[in-house]
């Protein structure tokens, strides 16, 4: 049980990281990226390819995956977000176009890497503390995720540049009138979200195998964590960790498919509870 909770916490921290990426796009820039899960998968495949094809060490590959996913997000922005912003359309178009990119990326992964599960050759190093064993990869992933989340939130909250970014999202027209390069800020925020997804994906690759179509699963995780966490940093942290732990504890007992069922139903219950007790569904701004 405690073993499950510990390993669930490490995965949960990665869920927080990937949901954070989704949330900054939506919360700051009001941009919906349903290709977010596929970007996570792209990060995973990047690490896999760099490690197995070119012998790059996994953690160097994770850094590269972060950059690759930032660039990939730029492509997603140009393809899916830019047209809907330009024609003044709202979330509807963004949802459709980014869903299509999800589908397209799944096909591309299938073409380049094949349809089967791919995993890294595990190092097998194990850290043992007070009777709980934890693979070194999980420990590193957990620490990196926690540090990056903390640094990111501190940057956004307490530095001048971070506040400028947030205020550009909230008061776009005023920011534009004051000479802030609004478009660049939005593109930057979107790519930053993608970079976080890539980082999360890269770290996930060090502990989990990958297949072309799991992007939808990561998207669901990002959506559930971000929305149940009401797009607030504290909310995301709590929901993300809880998700990881519940998943680890339950899937060993009732199986993966039933666990998913429990999580989805719980999510709908949370939505209903939020509606009942808070009134509005999700704070739109982070």
């Amino acid at each position: 049980m405690i073993q499950d909770i510990v390993s669930g916490t490490t995965v949960g921290a990665l869920y927080v990281l990937l949901a954070l990426g989704f949330t900054v796009s939506l919360g700051i820039g009001d941009m919906v990226n349903l290709a977010h899960g596929s970007v996570v998968v792209a990060g995973m495949y990047s690490v896999f390819a760099l490690n197995t094809e070119f012998g790059v060490s996994p953690y160097l590959a994770v850094v590269a995956a972060t950059l690759i996913c930032a660039v990939l997000s730029l492509v997603v922005y140009v393809l899916a977000i830019e047209p809907s912003r330009r024609s003044g359309a709202g979330h509807r178009e963004q949802v459709v176009y980014t869903l299509v990119i999800t589908s397209g990326l799944a096909i591309a992964f299938q073409l380049f890497f094949g349809g089967d599960l791919k995993g890294l050759a595990s190092g097998g190093d194990v850290v043992s503390l007070a009777g709980i064993t934890l693979s070194r990869a999980r420990l590193v992933a957990f620490l990196v995720a926690v540090v990056v989340c903390a640094v990111f939130v501190i940057w956004l909250r307490y530095t001048t540049s971070g506040q400028l970014v947030r205020m550009t999202g909230r008061y776009t027209e005023s920011a534009y009138a004051m000479g802030v390069p609004v478009r660049t800020v939005f593109v930057g925020v979107f790519c930053l979200g993608g970079a976080l997804a890539g980082l999360a994906g890269g770290l996930l690759m060090t502990i989990l195998p990958v297949s072309p179509t799991i992007g939808l699963d990561f998207l669901l995780i990002a959506l559930i964590v971000a929305i149940a966490g009401r797009l607030s940093f504290a909310g995301i942290a709590v929901v993300g960790l809880a998700y990881g732990i519940v998943q680890a504890v339950l899937s060993n007992r009732i199986g993966g498919s039933n666990t998913a069922l429990v999580v989805f139903v719980a999510f709908l219950a949370v939505l209903a509870a939020q509606k009942l007790f808070v009134g509005r569904l999700a704070a739109r701004r982070a």
């Binding site: 830019e82 330009r86 459709v96 589908s103 591309a108 959506l223 929305i227 069922l261």
Partner: protein, 604 residues
């Protein structure tokens, strides 16, 4: 300027008859059935797969395109049909009646989803997420279910013929097209498009959004379930990979969006584009990778088109709007405005208006309070409107004028107080119900339904009787805007007139105009105010929210002034405008010069 007398509606301006469209549909259906047998056999499977996608696109277009709701739960309905058909046929019974029953069950399930989404207050992204989660729950249940064969699904034991599948699909596709066509031609389609463009304005125009959404979802789900059944019949099995395929839904959604959401030709154009290349690829090669490359190429092509269209104006309708722009006629010139305004024009107009004694109190607002968070926007507001009376509602920005309109029309609920219409307490009634009881309004910012023509914008709220058509037509002719079809590209004045006309059609008892003159020229003011006087002369109470006192004061029987959420003055224009508190609240104590000018205008 068109005269106030009603000219008989010219035949050309009426809505074109639907008959030719139905004849074309029937002819195409007959032709497809007649020539299908002559097709080379190797192309048949490709075409069938294409028709499956086309049918799903048309089914989804009803909710996603016309109503504009991003429902991702669609594949659950599809699976309901697919699994029902396979399971029933495997038990050696005729599956067609059970399939229809499954489709009805799907419709009921869709209705339940609308109710749930409404209870949770979901729209836009959150609705898409909600429906996606419902889909995932259903998928988990199917995969966990032994009778449904888990991941492997269930296989039809009976042999099914390709030919029957094809004939069934042709029929289904034509039914799908006919359903879309029928909806778009009818008043139902008008209402659904209005909901897509602006749900709040739609409710204020008498559209019951909840009821209409439930209808759209149910019809779409019914058709979708039939499609799932026929696909399973064609494939010979139902499994999560096909019956619950997200990829199939995404392709259909993309087809609708690229082709033109909420149009009759859009899904067809889009499907041709989204499926054409991979159809070509499968017909030249059996290599799965070639098909995958073709699919990727198609998505790239679709995005190229989306990108190009987004650089154009009015690209909401995808390829359809682009093709439409190639054949569209130039819009008619903007309407002539009122006769040149001599200084005496206003005075004459006031005198010309038939003097009328205000009748009984129609609308009565008593003790209304409203707070947004800690800000009290309305404080103990009382307001009476009498039949045939024109009341000007004034006040500085933030005084609570628009909030008061929202309380009267039911867009927001007051914290305390009552709203009574002709003796009936309507405080708790929904906005559309109030519209049908005779309260109609315009909004501060223009809120025309851009997917609808000018005629349909004005007609959307009516009951749809023959008298309505005459009334709408009379208003359009009177305002000289009957020649305009597209409401999206119309000039500001035309849009404003259309909005005012839309409210006038519904305003049997109370007409509320929120800043109808903003941004218009004095000549254009005259056109609108003349209409207001005519409506009042027919016995409707008019509430005019306006900053332009000079323009409005001469036509008002009474002025009501608000400041900081409270009514500070209520009476005949010349008394109210001399009221010290009004001058102070509205103009500031130093604005003496303007003060004189305003009072002068009221005295004239």
């Amino acid at each position: 300027m068109a005269t106030a007398t009603t000219t008989p509606a010219p035949a050309a301006a009426r809505r074109p008859r639907a008959l030719p469209g139905w004849i074309v549909l029937a002819a195409v259906t007959v032709a497809l059935y007649a020539f299908w047998g002559a097709l080379p056999a190797e192309h048949v499977p490709t075409l069938i797969t294409g028709m499956v996608l086309l049918f799903l696109a048309y089914s989804w277009n009803i909710v996603g395109g016309i109503l504009g709701e991003l429902s991702l739960v669609t594949m659950v309905f599809w699976a309901m049909g697919a699994y029902t058909l396979v399971l029933v046929m495997n038990s050696e019974r005729s599956a067609w009646l059970p399939l229809v029953v499954a489709a009805i069950a799907a419709a009921a399930f869709a209705w339940l989803i609308v109710v749930l989404a409404r209870l949770l207050g979901l729209d836009g992204l959150y609705l898409a997420v909600f429906t996606l989660i419902v889909y995932e729950i259903a998928r988990s249940l199917v995969i966990a279910s032994e009778p449904l064969g888990r991941n492997e699904g269930v296989i039809l034991t009976e042999f099914t013929s390709l030919e029957t599948s094809a004939y069934l699909l042709i029929g289904l596709v034509m039914i799908g097209i006919a359903a879309n066509y029928g909806i778009l031609r009818s008043r139902i389609g008008r209402r659904w498009l209005a909901i897509k463009d602006d749900p709040t304005a739609a409710e204020a125009t008498g559209v019951f959004t909840g009821r209409e959404k439930a209808r759209a979802y149910a019809i779409s789900a019914f058709l979708t379930a039939l499609g799932g059944g026929v696909q399973a019949y064609y494939l010979g099995y139902a499994q999560p990979g096909t019956a619950l395929s997200v990829e199939l839904l995404i392709a259909a959604v993309l087809a609708v969006y690229v082709g033109g959401p909420g149009t009759i030709a859009g899904p067809l154009l889009g499907t041709t584009l989204v499926y054409g290349l991979s159809a070509l690829a499968t017909s030249v090669s059996t290599d799965i990778n070639i098909t995958l490359y073709a699919q990727l190429l198609q998505y790239a092509l679709a995005f190229a088109i989306i990108w190009l269209l987004s650089t154009r104006r009015a690209s909401r309708l995808g390829l359809v709007s682009w093709l439409g722009a190639l054949v569209r006629r130039r819009p008619p010139p903007p309407p002539e405005t009122a006769p040149p305004p001599a200084d005496a024009g206003v005075v004459e107009a006031v005198e010309a208006a038939a003097p009328h004694e205000p009748g009984d109190v129609v609308l009565s607002v008593r003790g209304v309070d409203k707070a947004f968070g800690r800000v009290r926007v309305l404080r103990d507001v009382d307001l009476d409107l009498r039949a045939g009376e024109i009341v000007g509602l004034m006040g500085p920005n933030g005084a609570g004028k628009t909030t008061l309109c929202n309380v009267v029309t039911g867009v927001i609920a007051p914290d305390a107080g009552t709203v009574t219409l002709a003796g009936e307490d309507i405080t708790r009634l929904s906005t559309p119900r109030r519209f049908h009881r005779g309260i109609a309004r315009t909004f501060q910012s223009a809120r025309l339904f851009v997917s609808l023509t000018v005629y349909d914008n004005v007609a959307v709220g009516g009951a749809g009787g023959a008298g309505d058509h005459e009334r709408v037509h009379e208003l359009l002719t009177r305002y000289g805007i009957d020649g305009h079809t597209s409401s999206a590209d119309a000039p500001t004045f035309v849009r404003r007139l259309a909005e005012v006309a839309r409210a006038m059609v519904g305003a049997k008892r109370v007409l509320i105009l929120d800043e109808p003159l903003a941004g218009l020229t004095p000549q254009q003011h005259e056109v609108i105010l003349r209409g207001v006087r005519e409506v009042a002369a027919d016995g409707t109470a008019v509430l005019l929210v306006e900053h332009l006192i000079q323009a409005v004061a001469p036509v008002c029987d009474r002025l009501v002034v608000m400041a900081d959420g409270a009514v500070i003055a209520d009476g005949p224009p010349h008394t109210v405008l001399r009221d010290d508190r009004v001058v102070d609240a509205y103009l500031g104590s130093t604005a003496v010069a303007e003060d004189e000018e305003v009072v002068g205008a009221a005295d004239r």
